[in-house]
C-alpha cells in the first residue's frame, strides 16, 4: 500500500475525552465530604483536616491496594483471582520463617536465623509468583474456569499457611525485614506498584494484549496472541503482588499468622470493581483501582471516626459496593444507547 493521493483528507483531531476516572473521583469526593459534614455535626471536628487520620487511612488499605493492582489485571482478561488473600497468609508465614532474628527463642529454622533481608523477600515474591503460575496454568491448559482454579488455590494456600507451623505464629522478625512495613513504606510500595502496572497496562505490549484478551479472546487468538502464555503471565503477576502484600503484612505486624489476609481477595475485587473495572473483561484501569481502594479506606476510616458500630459498618460497606457497581452498569447502558 503506497498510494498517497487518498490521504489528502484533513488530519483528524485526537479528541480529548474526560478521564473515565472522573466519575469515580466524584464518588470519592462525595463520600469524603459527607463524612466531613457529619463529622462537624456529630463529632464536632473535621474529618479531612487531620493528616494523621488520612495517613492511617491509606496505610490500612495499602495491602489490599497492592493485591488489587494484580487482581485488576486478572479481571481485565475476563478472569478472577480468589486466592490472593490466602496467598498473603501463605507467603507471610513462609517468608517470615526466613526472617527471624538470632536472639529469638524458638525460631522455625534454628540454623537459618539472622539471614540477610533479601532472602525472605525473594522467597516471598517467589512463592506468590508460583501460586500465580499454578493458577494461570490450570486456567490455560485444563480450561477450568478461573473462579474454580483460584478457589482451589484459595483453600490450599490457606491450608499451607496453617500446616507450615501447625498454626503457630512466626515472630521475632529482624528489624531489616520489619522496616518494609514501617511508617508509610506500605503506602509507598502500593503507589509504586500501582505506577509500574499503570505504565505496563497503558504503554506496553503486555498491557495491550491483556485488554485484547479480555475484550474478545477469539479475536485476540486469531490476531496471533498466545492466550495461554499471556494468561499465565497475568496470574503470575497477580500472585507475585499477593506475595508482596504478604511480606508487607507480616512486616507491619512484626509477626506472621496463618489467618492473615482473610477476605482480602474480596476487598481487592471490590476496589477494582468500584474503580470501574468490568467483571466481563476488557475494561479497567489501575488509576480507577487506586481510587477504589481509597474509597474503601475512607469508608472504614469515616465510620470509625463517626464511631459507627462495627456491625453496621460491614452492612453499609456491602451496600455501597453494590451501589457503586449498579451505578457503573447504568452509566454503561446509557452510553450504549447514545
Amino acid at each position: 500500500m503506497t498510494t498517497t493521493s487518498e490521504s489528502l483528507a484533513p488530519a483528524r483531531v485526537r479528541r480529548r475525552k474526560l478521564p473515565t476516572e472522573l466519575s469515580i473521583l466524584l464518588v470519592l469526593a462525595g463520600i469524603a465530604l459527607t463524612f466531613e459534614l457529619l463529622g462537624w455535626i456529630f463529632v464536632g471536628q473535621s474529618f479531612l483536616l487531620n493528616q494523621q487520620r488520612l495517613t492511617i487511612m491509606i496505610l490500612q488499605v495499602s495491602v489490599v491496594g497492592i493485591i488489587a493492582v494484580g487482581v485488576t489485571q486478572v479481571i481485565i482478561t475476563g478472569g478472577i483471582d480468589l486466592s490472593s488473600g490466602s496467598v498473603v497468609g501463605m507467603t507471610a508465614m513462609i517468608a517470615a520463617s526466613f526472617a527471624q532474628s538470632a536472639d529469638w527463642a524458638r525460631p522455625v529454622y534454628p540454623g537459618l536465623v539472622g539471614l540477610p533481608v533479601f532472602i525472605p523477600l525473594l522467597i516471598g515474591l517467589a512463592i506468590g509468583t508460583l501460586a500465580g503460575i499454578i493458577n494461570g496454568s490450570l486456567i490455560s491448559y485444563t480450561k477450568i474456569p478461573p473462579f474454580i482454579a483460584t478457589l482451589g488455590m484459595m483453600v490450599s494456600a490457606r491450608g499451607v499457611a496453617k500446616w507450615y507451623t501447625k498454626g503457630q505464629p512466626v515472630s521475632g522478625l529482624t528489624p531489616d525485614f520489619t522496616s518494609i512495613g514501617y511508617s508509610i513504606w506500605p503506602v509507598v510500595i502500593f503507589l509504586g506498584v500501582a505506577l509500574i502496572f499503570h505504565i505496563a497496562l497503558r504503554y506496553t505490549r503486555y498491557g495491550k494484549f491483556t485488554y485484547a484478551i479480555g475484550a474478545n479472546p477469539q479475536a485476540a487468538r486469531v490476531s496471533g496472541i498466545n492466550i495461554e502464555k499471556h494468561l499465565i503471565k497475568v496470574y503470575a503477576i497477580a500472585g507475585m503482588l499477593a506475595g508482596l502484600a504478604g511480606l508487607v503484612t507480616a512486616a507491619r505486624a512484626q509477626t506472621a499468622q496463618a489467618g492473615m489476609g482473610v477476605m482480602y481477595e474480596l476487598d481487592a475485587i471490590a476496589a477494582a470493581v468500584i474503580g470501574g473495572t468490568s467483571l466481563s473483561g476488557g475494561k479497567g484501569r489501575i488509576t480507577g483501582t487506586v481510587i477504589g481502594t481509597i474509597i474503601l479506606g475512607t469508608m472504614t476510616s469515616g465510620f470509625t471516626f463517626l464511631r459507627v458500630d462495627a456491625y453496621y459498618q460491614e452492612i453499609i460497606k456491602g451496600m455501597i459496593i453494590v451501589a457503586a457497581v449498579v451505578a457503573d452498569q447504568y452509566r454503561q447502558q446509557k452510553r450504549k444507547k447514545v
Binding site: Y203, A212, I225
Partner: protein
C-alpha cells in the same frame, strides 16, 4: 387487528374461522441497520401441506421464518393466521397461537429428561404443587405413541443422538397442539434411515391437517417431501409452485436468477508464482482431502453452502484449528502452521467470517483494534509500544481505507458494519501480508462499502498478494475470483475457472 390472546381463546373454543389459508404473510418488509433483509415478501401456507422455502444463503428465508415464529416483528406488512390478522410479539406468543419452530441448533436442555424438556413450564402438578412425574411420563408416552416415536421419556437428553433430539423437538411442537410447524434444515445432521423416519412423521403430521414450512438446501428433499415451494432471492419473493410442476434446473434458475451486474472491479493482473500450496488437508470429522494452489496476484474463491466446511478450511490454514493431516507449503517450503502466531509469521492474514465473534474488540477503540496484529513483532521497543509511530501509521491506514469516524478514539462498537470491516482489514494490512484469507468479507455491509472493499482487494492482488476469498454471495465469488473451488459436505466437489464459472454450475456442485 386481533390480539394473540383473543386468537388463542378462539382457537381453544374450537370455532376456527374458515379461512382459505392456514397462514398468510402479505407484503412483509424487514430492515436491519444497513440491509434490507426482506422486501415485499408474501407467503401462503395451506392446511395439510408441506411448503418448502428455497433460496441461497441470505435470500431472506431465515428472516421470514423468524417473523412467522415471533422472533422478529416485520417493519410493515401483515401476518394472517387462520383468517385473522395477528401481531406476534414473542416466540412464546407464536407458540401459544399454534406456531412452533424447530430450530437448526436444537434448544433442549441436555441435563434434563426427555419428558421434562417437552413439558417445561407446563408440568402436571399434584395437589401439593410438586411435579407429578408419573403423569409427566405417561403424557409423554401418549404423545410419542401418536407420532410413532420410540424414546424413553425418562432418559437424559444429553445421552441421545441428534436425530432423537430432533424427534423430541417435533414432539414438543406437537404437544402445544401447534398446527404451523417450521423446520429449518432438519435433515442436515441425520443419516438416511433417520431422514426416512423423520419424513414419515412429517407426512403423518401433514395428513392430520397441519401446515409445515420446510427450509432446505437439498433439491432431492424438495421433490420427496414438499407439496409446494416458494423461492426467495435477495430478500425478495420470486414465486410459488407445486413441486410436481418443475424441474431441478428451473428451480436453480429461479434461485440464482438475476443478471450479474458488472459491479466488480476485476482487473487482469499478472499471475505469479505459487505462494500457498495446500495438499490433502483434512480436519477429522469436518473436511477432508482439500488440495489447491494459490499464486501471487490470484484470487481463489471458495463457494459452498453454509456448513460445507469452507470456513473450517480457512481456519485450519491459518492455524486456528490445526489440521489432522495434510501439508501446507508457502513459497515451496513446507510449514507447520500450529497456531495463528505461526501463520502471521509466515505472512498470512485472516479476516474472519464473524466480525463480532472473532474479529472486533467491540469495547475498545479503533486504534487498539487496528494495531493488534502488527504489535506481535513490530512497533515495540523493550516491550514498550512506540505509540506515536504506531498511531500515525494507524491514522494513515484508516484514512486510506476511508473509515468514517471522528477519531481513532471512537469505540468500534459504535461503527457501522462496513467501517468495522475496514478496521479489521486495516489491522491485517498493517502486517503487510503475502497471503490474505477473506471469509465473507462483505457480509451485512452496505453496497458502497462493499464496492470499496472489492476495489481494495483488487489493489492488493495488483501488488502480488495471493488472496483466498470465501463468500456465500455467488455474484461476489464470480465477479472477483480467478478460480473457484466449490465445497459440499467437507469435500471439494469441483474447481471452476473464471471463464467457465456461472451460478448454475456452482449451485450444482454445492447442492448436489
Amino acid at each position: 387487528m386481533v390480539s394473540p390472546q383473543t386468537m388463542r381463546a378462539v382457537r381453544e373454543s374450537g370455532a376456527v374461522p374458515n379461512a382459505p389459508y392456514l397462514l398468510e404473510i402479505k407484503n412483509a418488509r424487514k430492515e436491519f441497520p444497513g440491509v434490507v433483509a426482506l422486501d415485499d415478501v408474501s407467503l401462503q401456507l395451506r392446511r395439510g401441506t408441506v411448503h418448502a422455502l428455497m433460496g441461497e444463503n441470505g435470500a431472506g428465508k431465515s428472516t421470514l421464518m423468524k417473523i412467522i415464529a415471533g422472533i422478529y416483528t416485520p417493519d410493515s406488512g401483515s401476518v394472517t393466521l387462520r383468517g385473522a390478522d395477528i401481531r406476534l410479539k414473542s416466540p412464546l406468543d407464536a407458540l401459544e397461537n399454534g406456531i412452533a419452530m424447530i430450530h437448526q441448533e436444537l434448544n433442549l436442555m441436555p441435563w434434563m429428561t426427555v419428558a421434562e424438556n417437552i413439558w417445561i413450564r407446563r408440568e402436571p402438578l399434584n395437589r401439593f404443587g410438586f411435579v407429578n412425574h408419573g403423569q409427566l411420563n405417561r403424557q409423554t408416552e401418549e404423545l410419542f405413541a401418536r407420532l410413532n416415536i420410540d424414546i424413553d421419556p425418562e432418559v437424559q437428553v444429553s445421552t441421545l443422538s441428534v436425530a432423537s433430539r430432533q424427534m423430541i423437538e417435533i414432539a414438543k411442537a406437537v404437544s402445544y397442539e401447534s398446527d404451523v410447524l417450521i423446520m429449518d434444515e432438519p435433515t442436515s445432521a441425520l443419516t438416511e434411515t433417520e431422514v426416512a423416519h423423520l419424513f414419515r412423521i412429517i407426512r403423518d403430521l401433514r395428513d392430520q391437517g397441519k401446515g409445515i414450512i420446510y427450509i432446505t438446501h437439498k433439491m432431492s428433499e424438495l421433490f420427496d417431501i414438499a407439496d409446494e415451494f416458494s423461492v426467495f432471492r435477495d430478500g425478495r419473493y420470486i414465486g410459488t409452485h407445486a413441486s410436481t410442476d418443475v424441474t431441478r434446473d428451473e428451480i436453480i434458475r429461479m434461485m440464482v436468477g438475476r443478471e450479474i451486474i458488472q459491479m466488480f472491479p476485476k482487473e487482469d493482473v499478472p499471475i505469479g508464482e505459487v505462494v500457498l500450496s495446500i495438499k490433502d488437508l483434512s480436519l477429522d470429522g469436518v473436511f477432508s482431502d482439500i488440495s489447491f494452489d494459490v499464486r501471487a496476484g490470484e484470487i481463489l474463491g471458495i463457494a459452498g453452502l453454509v456448513g460445507s466446511g469452507r470456513s473450517n478450511v480457512a481456519e485450519t490454514i491459518f492455524g486456528v484449528t490445526p489440521a489432522s493431516s495434510g501439508t501446507i507449503s508457502i513459497n515451496g517450503q513446507l510449514v507447520d502452521i500450529s497456531s495463528p502466531t505461526v501463520a502471521i509469521q509466515n505472512g498470512m492474514a485472516f479476516i474472519t467470517e464473524d466480525r463480532k465473534e472473532t474479529g472486533c474488540l467491540l469495547m475498545l477503540d479503533i486504534q487498539e483494534n487496528m494495531q493488534l496484529a502488527v504489535l506481535q513483532d513490530k512497533y515495540t521497543r523493550f516491550g514498550f509500544v512506540t505509540q506515536g509511530k504506531l498511531s500515525a501509521v494507524c491514522e494513515d491506514m484508516s484514512q486510506k481505507l476511508r473509515v468514517k469516524t471522528p477519531s481513532l478514539d471512537e469505540r468500534v462498537e459504535n461503527l457501522s458494519g462496513g467501517n468495522q470491516q475496514k478496521v479489521l482489514i486495516g489491522r491485517w494490512l498493517l502486517t503487510n501480508p503475502k497471503i490474505l484469507i477473506l471469509d465473507e468479507p462483505t457480509r451485512g455491509i452496505d453496497v458502497g462499502a462493499k464496492a470499496e472493499i472489492h476495489k481494495l482487494v483488487t489493489q492488493l492482488v495488483r501488488q502480488g498478494v495471493a488472496v483466498i476469498m470465501i463468500s456465500s454471495e455467488l455474484p461476489e465469488v464470480l465477479g472477483m475470483s480467478d478460480r473457484i473451488m466449490v465445497m459440499h459436505h467437507g469435500r471439494a466437489t469441483g474447481f471452476l475457472d473464471r471463464s467457465e464459472a456461472d451460478q448454475v454450475k456452482i449451485m450444482e456442485l454445492a447442492a448436489q
